[in-house]
């Protein structure tokens, strides 16, 4: 040990952790504090903020001034938030439905093949998200990869009109974030003791019962982690709603972008981001609490 290190163990611990504190501080806390402060200021008419404190941005989330300058309840923004939640839940469920069997299948492969399959799952991440989303326009579009063969075979005459719909957004989101579902589920399934499945079958459990009572409870942490990892980026998603949904219905991500560009209302954009952030933090706290409780209960048993 060199002599310039602090003597006490606690100062040493601080010094050792300093790089991570600095990274968290610069890349996470400072931007968040800026957002938080901006959300309590007044907008400058041409972008930026005025250094005048105001709660207007938060009032605007729920109320608006009508033509007679009366403050009335405005469900518009809440509708947008709700729509984003619905679509994110839909995409998360789709990811789970597709991702769980994939992860399970990979787990059942011989060990030397598993890494190769996992590697295949991560390949889409090597390409820019924008380009991958564009590819879906060609797949789902009018006269695209899906429609053209059906038209040639005479199964359909007109277009299926798959593009520019909520379904297209959900497909795009599912595709984009599927690896984030597969990987954590695989991580927890990999640790699964397959002798337990044999035991279940010895005790006359059929395949479904084994799945519901043994496999799923044991890989629940992976499933929950996967769902959170998919849900959070979906709710702020911006590319898929714009390109595949045609931007026809504003989503939370597009609404925030609109505030910082056309609408030039930075405080309101910041307030929306804070709302999004607190929703995510609250759900994470609930998850952490539930996980703790479960760990305690299992410990007691």
């Amino acid at each position: 040990m060199s002599t310039w290190l602090p003597k006490s163990a606690s100062s040493r611990r601080w010094l050792g952790l300093a790089p991570s504190y600095i990274v968290i501080g610069i890349f996470m806390l400072i931007p968040m504090v800026i957002m938080g402060v901006f959300s309590f200021l007044e907008p400058n008419p041409y972008g930026g903020v005025k250094a005048v404190g105001s709660f207007d941005a938060y009032v605007k989330l729920f109320f608006e001034y009508d033509l007679e300058d009366q403050l009335v309840f405005n469900p518009g923004y809440i509708n947008i938030v709700w729509r984003s939640f619905q679509l994110s839940i839909m995409a998360t469920v789709l990811c789970l439905v597709v991702g769980f069997p994939v992860a399970y299948y990979i787990t059942l492969q011989p060990e030397n093949k598993r890494n190769f399959y996992i590697y295949l799952v991560t390949i889409p991440f090597w390409t820019n998200l924008l380009i991958r989303t564009f590819a879906w326009i060609i797949i789902l579009g009018r006269g695209g990869v899906i429609e053209l063969p059906l038209q040639k075979l005479g199964i359909i005459d007109d277009s299926l009109r798959m593009m520019y719909s909520d379904g297209a957004i959900a497909v795009g989101l599912t595709y984009s974030y599927l690896p984030l579902m597969v990987l954590p589920i695989y991580a927890s399934l990999e640790k699964l003791d397959f002798r337990l499945l044999e035991a279940a079958s010895d005790l006359y459990a059929n395949r479904w019962v084994t799945m519901w009572k043994v496999v799923i409870p044991l890989c629940k942490p992976g499933v929950v982690a996967g769902c959170i990892l998919v849900f959070i980026p979906c709710i702020g998603a911006f590319i898929a709603p714009n390109l595949l949904g045609g931007g026809k219905k504003l989503m939370l991500g597009s609404l925030v972008q609109f505030q910082f560009s056309s609408a030039r209302n930075w405080p309101f954009g910041a307030a929306l981001s804070m709302l999004l952030l607190s929703a995510v933090v609250v759900s994470l706290i609930f998850y952490a609490r539930a996980a703790k409780k479960r760990a305690l209960m299992e410990g007691e048993v």
């Binding site: 041409y46 714009n242 931007g247 026809k248 560009s261 056309s262 609408a263 030039r264």
Partner: protein, 342 residues
């Protein structure tokens, strides 16, 4: 497709510009697909200045970026209605454009425009019009009236695309309804809102980038479009026609200006001067297909540009240039847009 093309363009410029050159540097921040690489190469060869290019997709993005304190750009290209805002916010600086040697080539009708009355800040890049286009193989109409866009016929249901940002859509609505631009009157804006809400049933997508693709695939039959961008799509084989409705079209004029934070002001002025040389400006117009503000460019135009309908609008066309909206009028525009698309 625009994104991909612009990534390649930026990469190409970055690669060529990466070589150290004697004349110093110039950082241009321009709209996507708005800077022909061959023009940049010519400038680099003649001056020894190495150019880097970065791109944006709307005036709003440019304004937000400069407001947020983005530095390092020597030239940016806002539209006419954003020039007074940038001046007012102190984001661009006076560079005495009227003293540049090639200013003698500047067309009289574009000298000292209302958005830059002393021609201290800006020199023209391209100007054009905003209207709508249609797929002439699929649409039975002729694009004669804005009614076809705002109150479309049944064949267009679910196959109409409009721009992603409100300003130009609402300006076109003003022309159609005969109301004043940047109205602060809630009644006028209510009328526009009702019209847009009725139009919404016909809209398939909000798009400001791939309109020609939408029309080619038949996903849309009518889209908002810019004149020169329509020409590029048409030349690439899209079966599209740019409409000149009888009510008129929205005009815009983009110009080069120098941000206050620019480090290479002299190089920026050299580029402005370079662009006022008719040979160079003709190169840009040939590539982009909008109008320019430099005398003598016609001599260098190809036959195609001389006759392109997008560049040569019909005589007597009503072109209205949007002014800068007051904050109150802008707030009403945003309110209408959020109400329609919420």
């Amino acid at each position: 497709m625009k994104y991909i093309a612009s990534i390649f363009a930026a990469a190409a410029v970055a690669l060529t510009g990466g070589l150290a050159k004697a004349g110093g540097e110039l950082f241009i921040y321009n709209w996507t697909e708005y800077t022909p690489p061959e023009l940049i190469e010519k400038f680099e060869k003649e001056t020894g200045i190495s150019v880097s290019l970065d791109t944006y997709d709307s005036n709003e993005t440019l304004l937000a970026k400069l407001q947020a304190g983005a530095t390092g750009y020597d030239l940016v290209v806002p539209s006419q209605n954003f020039v007074p805002i940038l001046v007012g916010e102190g984001l661009i600086q006076k560079v005495a454009v009227h003293e540049l040697p090639n200013y003698k080539n500047y067309k009289d009708e574009w000298r000292k425009p209302e958005w830059d009355p002393e021609q201290e800040y800006s020199s023209g890049w391209q100007w054009g019009t905003t209207s709508f286009s249609y797929n002439h193989e699929l649409y039975s109409g002729k694009g004669e009236s804005l009614a076809e866009f705002f109150e479309p016929s049944e064949e267009v249901r679910g196959r109409l695309s409009i721009f992603q940002t409100p300003d130009e859509v609402i300006s076109l609505a003003n022309i159609y309804l005969g109301t004043e631009f940047c109205s602060e009157d809630p009644k006028v804006m209510k009328k526009i809102q009702d019209m847009l809400l009725a139009q919404k049933d016909y809209v398939v997508a909000l798009n400001s980038e791939t309109m020609s693709d939408l029309l080619t695939s038949g996903e849309a039959i009518i889209t908002n479009h810019w004149s020169g961008y329509n020409r590029l799509g048409r030349l690439a084989g899209a079966p599209i026609t740019y409409a000149y409705p009888k009510e008129g079209v929205v005009g815009w004029f983009d110009s080069l200006v120098v941000p206050t934070s620019a480090k290479n002001v002299e190089n920026a002025r050299t580029f402005m001067n370079f662009m006022m040389d008719p040979v160079n400006m003709a190169m840009l117009t040939e590539n982009q297909g909008y109008g320019d503000a430099v005398k003598g460019t016609e001599a260098y135009y190809s036959e195609e540009v001389k006759t392109a309908p997008e560049i040569n609008p019909p005589k007597g066309l009503n072109v209205v240039f949007a002014p800068t909206c007051s904050p109150k009028a802008q707030a009403l525009i945003d309110k209408v847009w959020t109400k329609v698309w919420q």
